[in-house]
């Protein structure tokens, strides 16, 4: 039986040499956490099942920095490495794979040119193509929206791009289903309302997507402790849980989270 995965996520600002890991709150305020490859190596040694790097830099020199971050990490980390953020073309995709990434995560570019999902899947396999969906809760779903019952009443979720700065008007759940059809191997589903809040994952949103796709869903946004991860695994079909802040600031170690889950009957790799 497959184990549920714990995935530390490193948001990287690559405007400095070696890059630095930062963490935003609800996609806005920023806090510094460490050097990407060093943190990734620590999480690997603690038992992370996979590592995600997201490039949140706005500058243009980042591509070379990202390559060197991936290369250094891949020499020390022997679990799958996913890289996203700032991937604008198939050429960018090739460059991160060439540096040693195992998967790419696409968001904005996939929304603007969905065919890139199929192109990545074709060349590197579906498992290498993760589609990131940043979802924002909205009130009063109309006829054309997928309605989800939440604690705040019936809602729908709008898909955002450009790192949460712009909205698409697209239904996030419908988009996840479309991404699967195009060849995505996984959905990285982030609740923008919960991101950085420590309030726990958005369970209704997560389950709504899990119910509608046949590919693994990674729950993301809002993880504040191991209990939140336990809830995500016991109340939704999520295959993996992604967390950032709880690991960066020494509140939890990956092995502590896994022990907590194992003691409560969740099948994890320990």
């Amino acid at each position: 039986m497959l184990a549920r995965r714990i995935i530390p996520c490193l948001d990287c600002d690559l405007a400095v040499p070696q890059g630095r890991v930062v963490k935003g709150i609800e996609f806005k305020q920023i806090r510094y956490a460490g050097v990407p490859w060093e943190l990734a190596t620590r999480y690997y040694e603690e038992g992370a099942d996979e590592i995600v790097f997201l490039d949140i830099t706005a500058s243009s020199e980042r591509r070379d920095t990202m390559k060197s971050v991936i290369r250094t990490t891949a020499k020390n980390v022997f679990v799958p490495l996913a890289v996203g953020g700032g991937i604008k073309s198939v050429e960018d995709v090739r460059s991160v794979f060439k540096a040693g990434a195992d998967k790419v995560t696409v968001n904005t570019t996939a929304l603007k040119m969905p065919e890139i999902i199929s192109e990545i899947a074709e060349e590197y396999g579906s498992q290498a193509c993760v589609v990131a969906v940043d979802a924002k809760r909205r009130d009063s779903p109309g006829e054309d929206r997928i309605s989800v019952p939440t604690s705040q009443g019936d809602s729908w979720f709008e898909c955002s791009f450009y790192g949460g700065r712009k909205f698409t008007g697209i239904d996030a759940i419908a988009w996840a289903m479309k991404a699967e059809e195009l060849g995505a191997g996984e959905i990285l589903l982030t609740s923008m309302d919960r991101d950085g809040t420590y309030d726990g994952f958005d369970l209704p949103l997560t389950e709504a997507v899990c119910k509608r796709v046949r590919i693994p869903v990674i729950a993301s946004g809002g993880c504040g402790n191991a209990k939140h991860i336990f809830e995500a695994f016991s109340k939704t079909g999520a295959s993996a849980a992604l967390a950032a802040s709880i690991f960066h600031y020494d509140e939890w170690r990956v092995d502590m989270v896994k022990r907590y889950l194992a003691e409560r009957g969740v099948h994890v790799r320990v």
Binding site: M1, F78, P80, F97, G100, A101, Q127, G185, P216
Partner: protein, 200 residues
Amino acid sequence: MTIAVVDYGVGNLFSIYNALERVEAQPELVTEPEGLAGFEGVVVPGVGSFGRCMRRLSRFEGVLSEALDEGTPILGICVGMQVLFERSEESPEEGLGWISGDVIRLPRSVLVPQMGWNTLSIKQEAKILEGIGEEDFFYFVHSYHCVPKDRSVLVATADYGLQLAAAVSRDNLFAVQFHPEKSGQKGLKILENFVRLARC
């Protein structure tokens, strides 16, 4: 200790290269068949479709057969395991046929691909799995699985709706469906075992 990694133009070989370096092998990516002579061990990686792998691997078929006959340890990984079999439901191309049997699609009852960490059920003692137990996890990513005709080659299975072949071995030929280079310390242990086998 020199280990060749056959670089036949599929997928990314950095992971396997880095992992072999970590276990103190001296890996070399070999892009031409004539470059394959004189290594102590050969790794055949593989990602993507069976047919695409076979089409690109075919020019290495002769030298790989020679290496196999000479007793050089060979390790197939993922689709690099599947191509050792006779054929696959995935593509019309013939496999190397070194192990008799077919490669078939995972059943409809499970999520395809199998992607993630799974444990092994060990069927027989084998040097390649020295130091590996049934509580250890390995990283799998695949949509098809191998069905050996001769069950005696089967070293370990994994439970994914059915018992699928996770590791096979016959004389100097070894193959794993999972990715040892992406399976943490235990994966590195398997590569270390392979390198040790190549050394003796």
